[in-house]
């Protein structure tokens, strides 16, 4: 108790300094006077009485000091004094301070921002209860679109039976509904889920309730659980929405029963979750019994007491059994396989490489900035050696000097860190946009105590590094130091070696960064060169789906609805075609340069696949007679569809070059017959009849500019159900001029149908390379930043060396060395550092760039052109950085230099 009390009193003593000092002086004074009076009474002369009294006191100043020490907390006071002194010293050295603070701020800012993203997207525990026990199951096969083929209901049942280590398997199926507002309609991406879904996922509602097993099956009312994100966006976080009903497609009504806590979803971004009853198809025998009818995603939770490894083994064994029991559902040539992935890992899959790359880049920048700051500190240390010597001569111990340096560095790095955090706030905002393209967890990114401590730890580490890099003599050798320093001051060999090593490291790291930046930039250039397969970019695509999923999946006769939809599409086509500037308008299921609705196995007449060969597959698309011309897709052979290719007429198709090469290698495909095939066909509205190929069109980059072309088969738009639905508009010059008018026409004809996309080809292209461009831009700017800092480093070290050698240069010049020789001498000094750094950096790049192989396109990670270019660039910048101090050295006037000793 009394300790605590004394502690508070002392803390308070820190602030009540002035008042108590007066008090103390008065008290001591009164003591002396009383003693003097007593001495006088004892018979001493007044002067002698006072002298004796003072003598007995043992020194007033010492007493006051002893009391003062007792009053406050001495080390805090001296630390404050140190900091105050440091602030003054730094203010007097504005250039040094500014450069150091900015360099540190950039390093710390970049690291804090990117660490926040890495933490939010990859490291932070999931918001789900026991999130590390959540698993995501993925079924894959070979070929485009095969990374995730999802599961069918019978497969889910088999897995449930085979893997008791999975405590619960929840089903999730992506679906879209149209939310009818009073004046508009919104497309909602929803997940149709089984009643155990939320229990397995470990999620709770913010308000209301979640679905439960009683919501499963037919004959129950449709219910909807809003995701937190959609609730905020669409309903402004209004609690009253719970319990109300919403109008969906075709007059269906669903009750909003609750709002989910914020949580990431995978693989799709979704607006709401519903029970299966909303889609009769999901409860149909087709869906429930069709082993190849795969449209269900699986999330599972490891059972209590079981391990992920057990679950993985059981799933693998069960899957093996499934494949041998149903050989026709797992085409051997396509190598069906299953993987069990921790949910958190699955969420971070696409972001991982990019983020770790950025983190590595940020760490590199930090290394370079720290090296630069260390260098600057070393140089400044040499300049202020005299000051330190004076302090030592006045009695400051090594510890005291060390503390003084630490105070300065703490102040510097702290200011740097604060600025860095400010930069990070902006940086995080920027990076969230980047991360959102890769990860459903982007909204979890924030600067929180953990990331701020990261910034703090970083700056503390730098401060310590800086304080111990400057050499101070060992305790006990101060005397020698002082006497030695009375003469000439120089950096000392050890210090110069350290500086040089730092410069070499900076150059090397910069080269590695530049190499990465160069490779990513070259990737961008390669991508820009990739042909989309279209003849023109003046094309606009409007995705508007008149025949809804709900209609398609209802079991009634949809032919009248289909006919009505097609009639409306035709009206849109004709009205837009009449707009000025429009060259042609076509209709099709899917806009060009985007992935088709799905793919099916396909066979060619008279061709039997070899044993073990994967079944050929093709994207299914529809197109009307104008589609190819409107989209600018070149017709290679044959002819386009004619307007007589309608429902029930002779079956014709147009295939793309990839499919033609696959089915009829080296032969003319036109006139041959092909057909859809495979088990999945029965779940589609397409017939498996033979169809005659009437034309072959060029490939288009449907999977993205960096993906291999996908085989595609186009059926006549009028001959099949109006699946999807895209109006493709070609303009004679600037297609963006017809966007507004086209949109108005579409909205007038289909007022209750939301437009899913309205994009020009240029926009689609741009969208497909945007993440890579952002990568390249980020890494490049970091690379340039690094080079800049490194250049400052080289120039600084050389300039320092020149100023330390001014005297020597003067002597050389007076002995007959000309300016050219001096210039070469200094350039040589810098050139050696540059060369060593370049060599190390290129070696590092050669070894290190392999890790970004996955982010590159059309360029090898060890692309010699890039490495050469990077080396050249670094060399040029380095030489310029050397030239400035060298030129200054050459301007040295020998007379002035020698006199200046």
């Amino acid at each position: 108790m009394s300790y605590l009390r004394a502690g508070f009193a002392r803390l308070a003593g820190l602030f009540a300094r002035q008042r108590s000092d007066d008090d103390l002086r008065e008290e001591l004074q009164s003591h002396v006077e009383m003693e003097t009076a007593e001495n006088i009474r004892r018979g001493l002369a007044p002067d002698e009485a006072r002298r004796q009294a003072l003598l007995a006191s043992g020194g007033l100043t010492q007493a006051a000091e002893a009391v003062r020490d007792r009053r406050g907390i001495p080390w805090i006071e001296s630390a404050i004094a140190d900091l105050r002194y440091a602030a003054r010293a730094l203010r007097h050295n504005p250039v040094f301070t500014t450069v150091v603070v900015i360099t540190l701020a950039l390093g710390i800012g970049a690291n804090t921002a990117i660490f926040s993203v890495v933490r939010g997207v990859l490291l932070k525990p999931l918001p789900n209860r026991d999130g590390d026990r959540l698993l995501y199951l993925r079924q894959s096969m070979d070929g485009p679109g095969g990374e995730n083929v999802s599961f069918s209901v019978p497969e889910v049942h088999d897995l449930r039976a085979a893997a008791p280590a999975l405590g619960g398997i929840a089903e999730y199926s992506a679906w879209t509904v149209t939310l009818q507002g009073d004046h508009d309609a919104t497309r909602m991406n929803v997940g149709l889920v089984t009643g155990n879904y939320f229990d397995v996922m470990g999620l709770s509602p913010v308000v209301g309730r979640l679905t439960r097993p009683t919501d499963d099956g037919p004959g129950v009312p449709p219910v909807m659980v809003l995701t937190h994100d959609f609730w905020m966006r669409r309903f402004g976080g209004d609690f009253r929405i719970v319990g109300t009903t919403v109008r969906l497609d075709e007059g269906t009504i669903a009750t909003v029963i609750g709002v989910l806590q914020p949580a990431p979803f995978f693989p799709d971004h979704i607006d709401a979750l519903m029970n299966m009853v909303i889609s009769p198809h999901h409860l149909s025998a087709q869906m429930v019994q069709g082993r190849t009818h795969r449209m269900t995603e699986i999330v599972a939770r490891v059972a209590p007491g079981a391990t992920v490894e057990q679950a993985r083994a059981q799933v693998a064994a069960g899957y093996e059994r499934m494949r041998s029991d149903h050989p026709d559902a797992y085409d051997a040539g396509s190598h069906y396989r299953i993987s069990v992935i921790p949910f958190k890992t699955a969420l971070g899959d696409r972001a991982r490489t990019t983020l770790w790359l950025l983190m590595a880049v940020a760490v590199f920048v930090m290394i370079i900035s720290a090296a630069n700051v260390a260098n600057l500190t070393l140089m400044r240390g040499v300049r202020r050696e005299r000051e330190l010597v004076v302090r030592a001569a006045l009695g400051a111990g090594v510890l005291r000097l060390r503390r003084l340096l630490l105070a300065e560095n703490v102040l510097l790095t702290f200011v740097g860190a604060v600025l860095g955090v400010v930069l990070a706030v902006g940086g995080v905002r920027l990076l969230v946009a980047l991360a959102a393209r890769y990860s459903p967890r982007a909204n979890e990114i924030r600067l929180d105590p953990v990331t701020l401590s990261f910034a703090l730890a970083l700056s503390a580490a730098v401060a310590l590094l800086l304080s111990f890099i400057g050499t101070l003599p060992r305790e006990g050798t101060l005397g020698t130091w002082i006497s030695a320093a009375a003469g000439r001051l120089s950096g000392g060999l050890r210090k110069q070696r350290l500086q040089r090593a730092l410069v070499v490291a900076q150059v090397a790291v910069s080269v590695v960064l530049l190499a990465g930046a160069g490779l990513l930039t070259r990737t961008m250039i390669r991508l820009a060169d990739v042909s989309t397969g279209l003849k023109t970019e003046e094309v606009l695509a409007i995705d508007v789906q008149l025949l809804s999923f709900a209609k398609l999946s209802s079991n009634g006769n949809i032919l009248p609805d289909d006919a009505a939809a097609k009639a409306n599409y035709e009206r849109m086509r004709q009205e837009i075609a009449a707009l000025p500037g429009v060259v042609d308008v076509g209709l099709g299921s899917t806009m060009p340069l985007t992935v088709a609705l799905g793919q099916l196995e396909v066979k060619a007449e008279g061709r039997v696949p070899a044993v073990g060969e994967a079944m050929p597959r093709a994207d299914f698309r529809t197109a009307d007679p104008n589609y190819f011309h409107a989209a600018g897709i070149p017709l290679l052979t044959g002819h386009p569809f004619s307007i007589t290719d309608r429902m029930g007429s002779g079956r014709v198709v147009i295939i793309n070059r990839t499919l033609a090469d696959r089915l009829f290698p080296g032969e003319d495909a036109v006139g041959r017959r092909v057909a859809w095939t495979g088990d999945v066909l029965r779940f589609t509205p397409f017939s498996g009849d033979w169809r005659t190929v009437v034309g072959v069109v060029g490939n288009t980059q449907d999977g993205g500019l960096d993906a291999p072309p996908r085989p595609a088969m186009y059926m006549p738009f009028a001959g099949e159900l109006a699946l999807g639905g895209s109006v493709v508009v070609r303009a004679d010059s600037d297609v963006s001029g017809v966007v507004a008018a086209s949109t108005r026409i579409v909205q007038r004809i289909a007022p209750t149908t939301p437009i899913d996309h309205i994009l020009t080809i240029a926009q689609i292209k741009d969208e497909s390379v945007a993440p890579r461009r952002l990568n390249a831009a980020l890494v490049s700017s970091f690379g340039l930043l690094a080079v800049l800092i490194a250049a400052v480093g080289i120039a600084g070290v050389l300039a320092f060396s020149v100023s330390a050698r001014t005297n020597e240069i003067g002597i050389r010049m007076s002995l007959g060395a000309d300016r050219g020789q001096v210039l070469r001498m200094i350039l040589r000094e810098g050139g050696v550092l540059l060369l060593v750094g370049l060599g190390l950096g290129l070696g590092g790049a050669f070894v290190g760039t392999g890790v970004i192989r996955g982010l590159l396109f059309g360029v090898s990670p060890r692309d010699p052109m890039t490495l050469l270019g990077v080396a050249l660039m670094m060399a040029v910048i380095g030489i310029v950085a050397c030239w400035i101090p060298a030129a200054r050295a050459a301007r040295v006037d020998p007379l002035v230099a020698m006199r200046a000793t």
Partner: protein, 114 residues
């Protein structure tokens, strides 16, 4: 002079508290004189020992300080024992006696053995 000893902080605190209990509120000079007299001038207190000890006792709440007039009309800072100080003193005294007894018990028989 050689038999004059410096006091240890802990013992000094005890001496100050005893002095204040015996004489009532007193200024620093009075406390110093009293302690030196009680020790029959074997102890010598300089300010640098006394005043930090007073401050410490004040911070711990065992004594209170107040400016006031001294007997010969001089302004001086008077220290007085607080309730906590009284309790502390009683406790310290008990501890001291117990320890002294203990040490005495060890020291006494040794002298009798030879």
């Amino acid at each position: 002079m050689t038999d004059k000893v410096d006091v240890k902080q802990g013992t000094l605190a005890l001496m100050i508290l005893t002095t204040l209990q015996g004489l009532g509120p007193l200024h620093g000079y009075g406390i110093a004189r009293r302690i030196e007299e009680t020790s029959r001038h074997r102890l010598k207190l300089n300010y640098g020992t006394l005043y930090p000890a007073l401050l410490k006792l004040e911070q711990e709440g065992f004594i209170t300080a107040e400016w006031s007039q001294s007997e010969n009309n001089r302004r001086a800072k008077f220290y007085a024992l607080s309730a906590a100080g009284r309790k502390r003193l009683a406790h310290e005294e008990r501890e001291w006696r117990r320890n002294a007894d203990l040490i005495a018990a060890f020291l006494t028989p040794q002298r009798e053995t030879p």
